[in-house]
Symmetry: C2
Subunit: 503 residues, 2 copies
């Protein structure tokens, strides 16, 4: 066996350990009885620490050291371009992992598994004080993590790099500023518009079982392979994967909000297509892994927003939806429905936000995360900071911490640096779809015909199967011919909502 | 930390790895999408092999070698009686595991995970030929396993010892012969009886959702803690545990067989009470583990047969069942229902068999397993041998392999030696319940009052929490004052069915 093959085999072991961890998370969020939480945290910590041990242990380090300089990451001479890329990316993961003591990895896993359970209770009981000590512990662990990994431009950049390799907070600030400059006036103009989008249509009583059926039908049409996946319900929708042949999603349906469940189903479906489209031949190696969290979000948000909030999609699906809910929709023309689902209105909850104000939710979180990580803002000050910023960014003040600082799961699993990737996904996906429409000139017609897999196939070839052969910025430049800016996204938003709200 | 504490901590790690394996099995049988099977087999093999590595590795061997002679299992001087018992039992597991090469453990895990999936398909398609090559491979692995472990009285005894420590096939033969001598005439007399038990009452159309509700209510009454457990559906009911705080069961409901689902629910509930009753303080050590498969079966079958096929149970539950299914049961008096659920009739499927003929199904399997293991009977001959024996033991010949040799999952996971423990459970549970009734003189009245937890509490104290502080035979002797015979069970059967069938 060649050294590279040997390395690939070892990485497959690491990936199987990580897949086991993922199964435990999936179970924890779907079916685990509540009493099992403490034992689960212990199990998770064990397997996470074994995965870490294996990744930084001799059996990886040995072959890797023959392929790359372990100190600098420079690939050895004599490797092909592709091999160089591969080993450089493997080294990236190895190097990051090797900086962390195993005891730390274990403590983080156990703490965050427990904290997620406490967070869920705290949110339900609207009790930030209950969650605060866990969050404080996690924040202290993040400080230690940054110490181990080494500070980049700022401490926060170190964490960001774990989600969006190569991205900096300076670059995000630039992109967000560019976005904000046009987004804030746009949202203000929409607020001043006299157009009534009849959002109440979406808030009628929609049978959950029928919502489920409709969502499953869309997933199948998108090309989500249910032989290698499944959908369940959970408090917080997510996608999780153990292997490209087992990629699962969850959703959360609400009787009085038709789009909450459907959007989440399609969003997670977009993530799942990415995972199912990874090359199983390269399972466990960077070439079989998604590029970044931002590119992942570009895939989910492309389907959720650019496709499923657009007219061609509903040309096909609206008659079907009407047939399912005649009592609510029979008398609602498609044009009215289209306006209703595209209502822009500042709201408290990120996951329920429209595609315009959504980005303000992210900017707020980005600001606050930097304060916590770079400026060591005490955790107990988070609720008031959150509420103040909500008021200044969105003009509304949360009525409770459950609808404010406690709404998102991310901090409970230590995911500081994750949020910005959602907005990056919005910025990535517009130029990606523009390129797809250049290649598939009749894409809108195909979608209006219910042929969603045409797009899935294009994304599989140009994004999913690429793996980490390219970075996010390389992918975007290769597909669009230019570096990432906020312009395509803002052009899209302005055009769409100028028409919708007759601005 | 004392050496014993150190050892306990390491065994907890092994148990957490085994709990992870168990979760993967649970998922495989309940929710895993079919395409994920091959990746799952690889993951399972990995974690099984890690669990094995850890159990036989330095971190266990080191402390263990200071507490026990690793060659002979003799505990070191200076240990208390309890400590001696503990380390002897730890050594038993260690010694058995250490005999197996890790590569073998991995191959067995991967092969059996795949084989279980193939078996399920083969049974569905009634295609023994499809399963045969997998079974052949498993049988060859079992031969290797016996070679590694060392042959006891017979090769089959080596496997038996893994399920029922200390039990021999000679002893089982003696017990089964003793049983057969009275069971065969009893079954013949029943067949000749003119009493009509109106079995068709059970085969009316019973709504599945209501069956589920009823089963869940019984489980709760039994004291199955649903904060630390859950019930799902699966093709083959089972109990699985990751920790005493997370013990799950599955059931399989049939519209036209009320007792199939209810019996399986109560059966698995009995297993689950055992696992929930283990002492979490000793998690991972023999004192926190069940005594044997036979004792485990005694707990499931005690609830399934001795309680839930008896009159006091139905005094409480029958009015409730009638209220749930008035269309089927309103006009059926309790005495008639009692006869219907206690119908004895030779049938093809073990899990659907009545409590009398059930044991003949086991004897047949015991005979055949010995032929496969001791006499190397070729796998391809199994279907005809099976059918011939069914005819001679039960007087009926399977119409298909699906209803014959393919009906049970056990061989697909390599469980040769497992079946006899079901019949041992029947033999154990009668004297155990007799003893419980001595201690709780009004037990029947309590049960007739729906107070099932009285029995659960007694079993917890006298059986569940004991762990492996006693062997099966020690437990039975301690509780009943005498060694195990088939007499109490046969006395019970004869008395019950003489009345029922007016023999």
């Amino acid at each position: 066996m060649s050294i590279l093959e040997q390395l690939k085999k070892e990485l497959r072991v690491v990936a199987n350990l990580q897949g086991t961890v993922a199964l435990m998370h999936w179970d924890q969020e779907t079916y685990m009885p509540p009493g099992g939480g403490s034992a689960r945290a212990e199990q998770l910590a064990l397997i996470e620490s074994l995965a870490h041990e294996r990744l930084v242990g001799d059996s990886v380090r040995g072959p890797l050291s023959e392929l790359v300089d372990l100190e600098t990451g420079t690939p050895a001479a004599g490797l092909s371009d592709e091999e160089q890329r591969l080993v450089a990316e493997i080294w990236r993961d190895y190097h990051r992992a090797a900086a962390l003591p195993n005891e730390f990895v274990r403590e983080m896993a156990q703490t965050t598994s427990e904290a997620q359970q406490v967070w869920a209770e705290s949110r339900q009981q609207n009790d930030f004080g209950k969650f605060a000590p866990y969050l404080e512990k996690i924040v202290r662990l993040k400080y230690r993590e940054i110490d181990y990994l080494g500070k980049k431009e700022t401490p926060y950049d170190t964490l960001l790099d774990g989600f969006e390799p190569g991205m900096t907070s300076a670059e995000i600030t630039r992109l967000f500023d560019e976005m904000k400059e046009r987004l804030v006036p746009l949202v203000q103009k929409i607020a001043a518009s006299e157009v009534d989008t009849h959002a109440e249509i979406i808030q009628r009583d929609y049978d959950l079982e029928k919502q489920w059926q409709f969502g499953m039908a869309v997933l199948e049409d998108m090309g989500y392979d249910l032989q290698c996946g499944r959908q369940d319900e959970s408090a917080h929708p997510f996608t999780i994967n153990f292997h490209p042949t087992d990629v699962r999603i969850t959703t959360r349906l609400e009787r009085n909000n038709l789009m909450a469940g459907l959007s989440s189903t399609i969003h997670e479906g977009g993530h799942a297509l990415y995972e199912q489209g990874l090359d199983p031949e390269w399972f466990g190696t960077p070439f079989g892994q998604p590029i970044s969290y931002g590119i992942h979000e570009s895939q989910s948000r492309l389907w959720e927003n650019l496709i499923a909030l657009d007219k061609p999609f509903w040309q096909y699906y609206y008659p079907r939806l009407q047939a399912l809910f005649p009592e609510n929709l029979e008398l609602v023309p498609i044009e009215v429905f289209y306006h209703a689902i595209n209502t822009v209105k500042p709201s408290l909850i990120r996951v329920d936000a429209d595609e315009a104000t959504y980005n303000l939710h992210i900017m707020l979180r980005f600001e606050i995360e930097k304060m916590v990580i770079n400026d060591r803002l005490p955790v107990r000050e988070l609720p008031s900071i959150w509420n103040d910023r909500m008021e200044s960014y969105l003009g509304i003040r949360p009525d409770s911490d459950a609808n404010g600082v406690l709404q998102d799961v991310h901090w409970s699993f230590g995911g500081f640096g994750y949020f910005p990737t959602y907005a990056l996904g919005n910025l990535y996906n517009v130029p990606i779809l523009e390129r797809a429409k250049k290649d598939i000139t009749d894409l809108d017609d195909q979608i209006a015909d219910g042929k969603l897999t045409v797009l899935r196939d294009w994304l599989r070839e140009h994004v999913h199967a690429v793996g980490r052969r390219k970075t996010a910025s390389e992918l975007i430049e290769d597909l669009t011919g230019q570096p990432l800016t906020a312009r395509p996204f803002m052009d899209y938003l302005e055009a769409k909502y100028t028409e919708l709200y007759a601005l």
